[in-house]
């Protein structure tokens, strides 16, 4: 039962660690495969977890994690709930540009809209980005991987003159002031 800390370890040279948290594992796997395939010049290590906290056994051999991605399937209430629980296991440092939400099924009108709304509230309150994805198609997965990778490289300090905090200040989710444009249905 230990918080996950962003700065308790030294970074490794030319290496970036990303943690994908999803309570079901199928999309996670696809995404992980794509991520490691996409990146050539940086040594990207992907860690898969169903939820936080991470098991303590391997705590010390685990490298420092530069980006935590919470995968939320709007199609399942459980996914949202477990994300909420896991969030509590992150040290506040991660909310400064070292975490983001990856949302599937946002385009689907049949999922209860309040899920998306509550997720948006969460993201807004944590000043964290909210990435929509199409988990159904390979293109969708590729794109998701690409975007996550971009964020990872920045948050791992591999992009000169850019930091995770800087980026997230640009892309963090904000609840639109004009309610007219909130998704009604």
């Amino acid at each position: 039962m230990s918080l996950l800390k962003p700065f308790n370890k030294l970074p490794e040279l030319n290496t970036a660690n990303i943690l994908l948290v999803e309570n079901e594992t199928q999309f996670q796997k696809k995404l992980a495969d794509t991520i490691v395939q996409l990146e050539n010049d940086v040594n990207v290590i992907v860690r898969l977890a169903r939820s936080l906290p991470l098991p303590v056994e391997i705590a010390e051999k685990r490298q420092r994690i530069d980006l935590v991605v919470f995968i939320v399937h709007l199609s399942s209430e459980q996914s949202l709930l477990s994300t909420e629980v896991s969030l509590k296991q992150l040290e506040s440092g991660y909310f400064m540009g070292k975490m983001c939400f990856l949302v599937t099924g946002a385009r689907c009108g049949t999922v209860p809209s309040e899920r998306l709304t509550s997720l948006k509230k969460m993201a807004a309150s944590l000043n964290s980005p909210l990435l929509m994805t199409e988990d159904g198609t390979t293109e969708g997965v590729n794109t998701a991987a690409q975007r996550v990778l971009n964020m990872l490289k920045i948050s791992a300090g591999l992009v000169p003159m850019a930091t995770g905090l800087y980026l997230s200040s640009l892309i963090r989710y904000t609840v639109p002031a004009d309610p007219d444009w909130q998704d009604q249905d």
């Binding site: 946002a106 385009r107 689907c108 009108g109 049949t110 999922v111 980005p129 909210l130 990435l131 929509m132 994805t133 199409e134 159904g136 198609t137 293109e139 969708g140 590729n142 794109t143 998701a144 690409q146 975007r147 996550v148 971009n150 964020m151 920045i154 992009v159 000169p160 003159m161 850019a162 980026l167 640009l170 892309i171 989710y173 904000t174 639109p176 002031a177 004009d178 444009w181 998704d183 009604q184 249905d185």
Partner: protein, 726 residues
């Protein structure tokens, strides 16, 4: 239990009885009979089946009735393979709805009623009459109506259907039928079909059932035709619409369609839409394909209105402008340029309402309503959106429903799904008021922009560039003094003042400035992104002179300096050109102000920025005074010293600039072919320099040339160029 576990058991008992009767006959005769049957089969089992269905008399037992089974099987095969002929449809529909056998059979038949070409109107009429008889089970009725909706556009003509509008209307009171009836009515309604008592009825229903979308839409249509009867006010953006997802038919039909998608519509006598939609029959099965234009072929008696699809060509359109009959399927307008021209000429609100509704509905259904992105779907989607795009290009304006859709879609977009189309559509949207542009456009775009790939970044910049272009064009077209109406087609025409437009433009340009700055930084000043950014500023710098929008906006330093210090000559050259254009605008603006018959004011700040940039350019490229104080980029002496670059001030002059050094070397060799060691500085000496610049121009660096000629003609220093802009 046993029933549940295997249904076959039941009918076995029954049929064993049947057989027991039959088995009295001698088996010889049986076999003879069977041989005979075989012979008939050899002729055509399908016809036999039809014969059977047309003749089978009421109350024939169906359980364990092998003959029936067999015929149904035959029909099923045919229907699902090549679809059913009009006659077949009439026969089967009649059999089904007359419920001569059990309702199961009826449903079963309805389910496989897949037309190959068209559906005869009479069949539908017949069906409705059976509906009136009212011995059908409710779910069968619903199924029937839904079927009609599905194949609506295949009904060969709709005049008589319109004639029995009243009958159909009478069914709205049926709770479970109502939604579908409303949809059907929506498709059939014309001005003359609107009566006070019908309006009243609908209003009552609305009171009873609450604000159901299907009622709202029908009423909205009524209001359009006769506003005096419908007092309600409708929200500008109505949600939902008529939901009629019946995948079974869709799939079956599109399958049949795929197999024989040769111009089935030839019998629909359509000339217009054929070209755009060779297989536009698919339209209903996936909302995504565009209906063919088919309005009611008129009975002689009725008014002299001219159905749209009978238009031959543009002149013909012009002659008949006053008596055009709009098609039942507004969607079909998309397919046909003539129709669009018509719409463009006569600002028919109802037409736009219906077209908008149709669009909004399909867009929503297809992209914001659980549609897993399979490649086949995507192919259709792409085609559809492309048509939409071309339509909008033709009308030179976006539909409001497209905008509404886009704003919603951007918020749930992953940035890759149908990227080309979405950005294409986005670049067409009408000017967004500056009050909401941030929320509806910038925020979602930012999220996507900064996380996505280089190519996406480029696409966004490109998209915004063409968006700006369109806005400017509109402005230059509708440039009325102070009141220009931009969104002509939109449901709620928003009048936009010049200042309003200018605010929006400023917002847009500044936005691009911001994202380009950061984007370039993130992408390590990638040449591709840089060039797209310069594209954008080529548009911006011409705003005043080309589109006479009284506005001059300089690029931010984050764009200017990367371009100036870029490693490829093209970027630098284009920058020069852009600066030259800015100069031209500013100069003429000055003139305007001097003559002050059109007083408008460009802030000193803009001039200052401009001069600043010019100064640094000249210092860099000509005066070898890079990094000097007073330039945009200053560097402390010691820092420069520490970089251990000898005479670093001159590293960015026309000779040593990474973009030009190639030319310099080239030039050097041309000048002193005999020289062994390379001494680029010797180019600076006396005439050489002029020759060198000439050489550069001759290498096709026009931008540079223009810049030189304008800003430092007669070899003055930059300050002059600055002042003469003042």
């Amino acid at each position: 239990m046993s029933k549940k576990s295997d249904p076959s058991r039941l009918d076995m008992n029954y049929s064993s009885e049947n057989d027991s009767l039959s088995s009295g006959r001698s088996d010889r005769s049986l076999r003879v009979a069977e041989k005979a049957r075989k012979k008939n089969e050899a002729e055509d089992p399908f016809l036999l089946a039809l014969k059977y269905f047309s003749q089978v008399e009421e109350g024939t037992p169906w359980k364990g009735n092998d003959v029936l089974e067999w015929h149904v099987a035959v029909v099923e095969r045919v229907a699902l393979s090549q679809g059913l002929s009009p006659e077949a449809i009439s026969v089967l529909l009649d059999f089904a709805l007359s419920s001569r056998m059990s309702s199961q059979q009826c449903v079963r038949i309805l389910k496989i009623l897949v037309p190959a070409t068209v559906v005869p109107q009479d069949a539908i009429i017949q069906g409705v009459s059976w509906l009136c008889v009212g011995k059908m089970a409710m779910k069968t009725q619903v199924l029937f109506i839904r079927w009609v909706l599905t194949i609506f556009d295949l009904i060969d003509s709709k005049d008589q259907l319109r004639a029995i509008y009243g009958f159909i209307f009478s069914f709205v009171t049926e709770e479970s039928l109502c939604p579908y009836i409303c949809h059907l009515l929506y498709l059939l309604t014309r001005k003359e079909s609107i009566r006070p008592y019908r309006v009243r009825k609908l209003l009552d229903l609305q009171v009873k059932m609450g604000k159901q979308p299907f009622l709202m839409h029908l009423l909205a249509l009524y209001k359009v035709f006769s506003p005096e009867l419908v007092a309600l006010s409708f929200p500008s953006k109505m949600k939902g619409g008529f939901k009629n997802h019946n995948s079974t038919w869709k799939v079956a039909l599109s399958a049949v369609q795929k197999r024989n998608n040769a111009g089935v519509l030839t019998d629909l006598r359509l000339n217009l839409s054929m070209r755009t939609q060779p297989n536009s029959k698919k339209r209903k099965f996936s909302h995504l394909t565009i209906p063919a234009v088919s309005s009611v072929p008129l009975r002689v008696s009725s008014s002299k209105a001219l159905p749209l699809e009978q238009l031959r060509d543009f002149p013909h359109l012009l002659e008949n402008l006053h008596r055009i009959e709009l098609p039942a399927q507004m969607g079909s307008m998309l397919g046909s340029p003539l129709a669009l021209h018509y719409i463009d000429c006569v600002r028919d609100n109802s037409a736009f309402l219906r077209l908008n509704f149709w669009l909004g509905h399909s867009l929503h259904e297809e992209f914001l309503f659980c549609r897993e992105a399979s490649s086949q779907n995507m192919a259709e989607a792409t085609r559809f959106l492309n048509t939409l795009i071309s339509t909008q290009r033709l009308l030179q304006e976006g539909f409001s429903s497209t905008e509404v859709f886009l704003y919603r879609f951007l918020r749930v977009w992953d940035g890759s799904l149908l990227r080309t189309q979405i950005l294409g559509l986005l670049s067409d949207i009408a000017v967004v008021p500056s009050s909401r542009i941030k929320v509806v456009l910038f925020e979602p775009l930012m999220q996507l922009f900064f996380t996505s790939s280089l190519f996406f970044k480029c696409s966004v910049v490109e998209c915004l560039n063409s968006m700006l272009l369109k806005w400017l064009t509109w402005h230059s077209v509708y440039a009325l003094e102070d009141e220009l109406d931009i969104s002509v087609t939109s449901q709620t025409p928003q009048n936009m003042t010049l200042s309003g437009l200018m605010d929006s433009v400023v917002e847009l340009v500044q936005f691009v400035g911001r994202i380009a700055t950061v984007g370039l930084q993130l992408e390590g000043y990638h040449t591709l992104l840089l060039s797209f950014t310069l594209d954008f500023y080529e548009t911006v710098c011409g705003m005043y002179l080309k589109y006479d929008l009284p506005l001059v906006l300089m690029p931010p330093a984050g764009v200017f300096y990367p371009a100036l210090l870029a490693t490829n000559p093209v970027s630098v050259d284009r920058l020069c050109q852009i600066m030259h254009r800015y100069r031209a605008s500013l100069v003429s603006a000055k003139l305007q102000e001097r003559q002050s018959q059109k007083p408008f004011h460009i802030s000193r700040k803009t001039y200052r920025e401009f001069n600043q940039y010019v100064v640094s350019m000249v210092n860099c490229l000509w005066n070898s005074r890079a990094f000097m104080p007073g330039m945009g980029i200053e560097l402390a002496e010691d820092l420069l010293a520490r970089s251990k670059v000898t005479e670093c001030c001159s590293t960015f002059n026309l000779i040593h600039h990474p973009a030009f050094i190639g030319y310099a070397v080239d030039f050097h060799q041309k000048c002193w072919p005999e020289r062994k060691e390379l001494d680029l500085n010797s180019i600076k000496m006396g005439k050489c320099w002029d020759w060198y610049t000439e050489f550069l121009f001759s290498e096709g660096l026009w931008g540079l040339k223009e810049f030189v000629q304008s800003s430092l003609s007669h070899r003055t220093s930059s300050r002059v160029s600055g002042t003469d802009a003042r």
